[in-house]
């Protein structure tokens, strides 16, 4: 792999890694599993598609990541694990990050954290497909066609899933949204 291509791929992966981790975390409800999924997606993209044009990397990467997330859900179902809603609402031992006690956190940081927890909780209650479509369309900025290919459904379904996700989030968040 040429050095220039390696640098370009490095820049691409660095540009998506944080959002990819959060998307995987919201979908899987666990940061360790999310990190594993992102690592696998990076590895597959790098080994299989590094020579593709850089403009194709983003939808390809999220296609791979979404497949990995779906596989993890299937494995969990197969191993008869009790379904766990994502993150804080059920995984009490898991801590998103080392954080200062509430008493010493600035007010703005506390409010941001509270908003994140409310949003994560609301997203966790959505059906997986709606959650994936919402995150890819609204947060990652993929267009309808790219989102459809990334999650494996039709363009019409993307619009339906997004509309339902927005309605559900509006309903869940409007009462206590800042």
């Amino acid at each position: 792999m040429a050095a220039a291509n390696r640098d370009e791929l490095n820049r691409f992966l660095a540009s998506v890694e944080r959002q990819a981790l959060r998307i995987a975390e919201i979908n899987l409800g666990n940061r360790d599993d999310a990190l594993d999924a992102v690592q696998d997606a990076m590895l597959k993209l790098a080994t299989r598609y590094a020579k593709r044009p850089g403009s194709e990397w983003k939808p390809l990467f999220y296609r791979i990541l979404n497949n990995r997330i779906t596989d993890t859900h299937r494995q969990r179902t197969r191993s008869r694990k009790v379904f766990q809603p994502p993150r804080s609402s059920f995984d009490e031992d898991w801590q998103p990050e080392a954080q200062a006690p509430a008493s010493v956190q600035p007010q703005g940081q506390l409010e941001r954290r509270a908003a994140m927890e409310r949003l994560d909780s609301a997203l966790a209650e959505l059906p997986m497909r709606q959650r994936q479509v919402f995150l890819l369309r609204i947060w990652e900025g993929l267009d309808v066609a790219q989102t459809a290919r990334a999650v494996g459904c039709g363009s019409g379904s993307v619009k339906t899933h997004l509309s339902r996700a927005m309605a559900a989030l509006r309903g869940k968040l409007q009462e206590n949204w800042p």
């Binding site: 939808p59 989030l169 949204w177």
Partner: protein, 112 residues
């Protein structure tokens, strides 16, 4: 709350959550990224030895012809893909499942 404001708010919250990841997680992401880049560099790939890939394909084709049961000769001839697919490792099957996506992307690129 209208949709535009809701979308703006939700994007901001998600952006904040990504920006505030802890150092340990960021180190894990960086390690994963470097591992992926190294794997790309280290991967031998079939392109380095095209003659080997060709030779292997020929040997497999000959072996399939020689080992095919006599009774099966009259039957519908199987394509190489149909014969070889079950023997592919799981990773290659996943790759096959993504091929339509790659083709679609390439077609999209050319029509833009």
């Amino acid at each position: 709350m209208n949709d535009d404001r809701l979308v703006g708010d939700l994007r901001q919250v998600l952006d904040d959550s990504a920006a505030e990841l802890d150092e340990l997680t960021l180190a894990g992401l960086k390690a994963a990224r470097l591992r992926a880049l190294d794997a790309t560099h280290a991967r031998p790939g079939y392109g380095r030895w095209p003659w080997l890939a060709g030779a292997l394909a020929s040997v497999i084709a000959v072996a399939l012809v020689l080992t095919e049961p006599e009774a099966g000769r009259d039957a519908e001839p199987a394509t190489m893909a149909a014969v070889a697919e079950p023997a592919l490792p799981v990773d290659d099957l996943e790759l096959m499942s993504e091929l339509d996506f790659v083709i679609w992307l390439a077609e999209t690129e050319t029509t833009l």
